[in-house]
């Protein structure tokens, strides 16, 4: 028979865990609201930037010099995978699904004889990947998302990627991140940013409708100058997009996970309370029987 005191301690401990998880859920919910707004506000900019770049590059005459950051190099030997995860856990499958996708890609690329490097944005990605791919991880950036994603953060990383590319430290760069759909669902998204693959499906469709002979743009100041500014800018925009999406997904995933945890704790408390009451009753009954049979024996 379970000990009454142990049960009491157990119930108490589950109850305090439940308090923590429900507080975390509340915090995540309020952060989610803001993050969701940020995502929705940033999507138009990202979409238009992608469309503009697509149409502009499409309008360039055949054989025009395009920066390698956009068009890619002839060799595709070294792949850089940027894994966007959270710094903290307790958010369900959020980090795990990014990590799983990164693992899969690394194995696939290695079996094709390519060199793979990993840049982790977020501590959890590194923690999960370093066991298996310690040699591939070139660096980890932490603390990218403190309540809000700042555009400057993305600019900084983009500048770093651009200079690494210039030094030929990688040829192809792919982002792996969670795309925010709703608080319940996040999609692991893989997006190649160097060389830039023109757009996600929905933006692609918008670019295609123009079709036919492309409108020739008047360019001010000049093609090179615009490309010089536009291409690094686009890199920063794509990173910013990934970071905001990932941050909103993280909050959504955490909210859902903590909601489940709170509910599970509630069920556990109910079950334990039932056992506790039964046990208590059994103890009382036993004592009564003892007293009565003692009295009868007299």
């Amino acid at each position: 028979m379970p000990n009454l005191k142990d049960l009491r301690i157990r119930i108490h401990s589950v109850r305090s865990t439940q308090k923590i998880t429900s507080a975390m859920k509340m915090v995540a919910a309020s952060k989610l609201r803001r993050a969701q707004l940020a995502v929705e506000d940033s999507r138009p900019y990202v979409g238009r930037m992608t469309r503009m770049l697509g149409e502009f590059v499409g309008s360039l005459p055949e054989g025009a010099p395009v920066p390698p950051l956009l068009a890619g190099r002839d060799k595709v030997e070294t792949h850089l995978i940027v894994a966007v995860t959270a710094d903290r856990g307790l958010c369900g499958g959020f980090n795990g699904s990014v990590v799983r996708e990164v693992r899969r890609r690394v194995r696939e690329l290695r079996s094709m004889g390519k060199t793979v490097k990993i840049l982790c944005l977020g501590k959890k990605g590194r923690d999960a990947l370093r066991g298996q791919f310690r040699d591939a991880i070139i660096d980890t950036v932490e603390g990218l998302t403190r309540n809000v994603v700042r555009f400057e953060t993305a600019t900084g990383i983009a500048a770093r990627l651009a200079s690494m590319f210039a030094k030929e430290e990688f040829d192809v760069c792919t982002l792996v991140y969670n795309r925010f759909q709703s608080a319940m669902t996040q999609h692991v998204t893989v997006r190649q940013i160097v060389p830039f693959a023109a757009g996600a499906p929905e933006e692609d469709a918008a670019a295609k409708t123009v079709g036919g002979p492309r409108a020739m743009y008047i360019l001010e100041p000049s093609e090179e100058e615009i490309l010089d500014l536009l291409v690094p800018r686009n890199l920063a925009v794509q990173l910013y997009h990934a970071l905001t999406e990932s941050y909103a997904s993280e909050q959504g995933a955490r909210m859902t996970a903590m909601d489940n945890a709170t509910r599970n704790a509630g069920e556990m408390i109910d079950a334990l309370t039932l056992t506790y009451n039964r046990t208590r009753q059994a103890v009382i009954t036993k004592e009564l029987i003892e007293i009565i049979s003692g009295a009868e024996a007299l």
Binding site: D41, M52, S59, M216, E220, R233
Partner: protein, 136 residues
Amino acid sequence: MAGRVQFELVTPERVLAAEEADLVVVPGGDGNFGVLPGHAPLLSTLRPGVVDIYEGDKITSRIFVAGGFAEVAEDRFTVLADEAQAVEDIDAAAAAERLNAAREALTRAQGGDEDTAAAEADLAVAEALAAAAGTH
């Protein structure tokens, strides 16, 4: 086709303006230019300055941009700004403070071997912001 310009001004943080206008004047990289309905396709960089949106021949709103890109295609006119805010919302004191900070940063950058180009760009933005603040 002719009619009005579908004007949009977006920053990474939000859509600041989405409206129809008769004329929009923006600070292009090679000098200010105005966009009327039926403008030829154009792609331009922007320097820090003020975008003026006209309704008839009156300016209905003025928006400060810190740089970015402008794209004209058919009757659509899109400005992708790095940073933007309505001129009437600019806090003159904050703008002056930012200008001073940018000047100091540039002096520091010139002293060491840091990136002076970035500091100069910051200063240009701060100067344009302070100038815009003075006009309202």
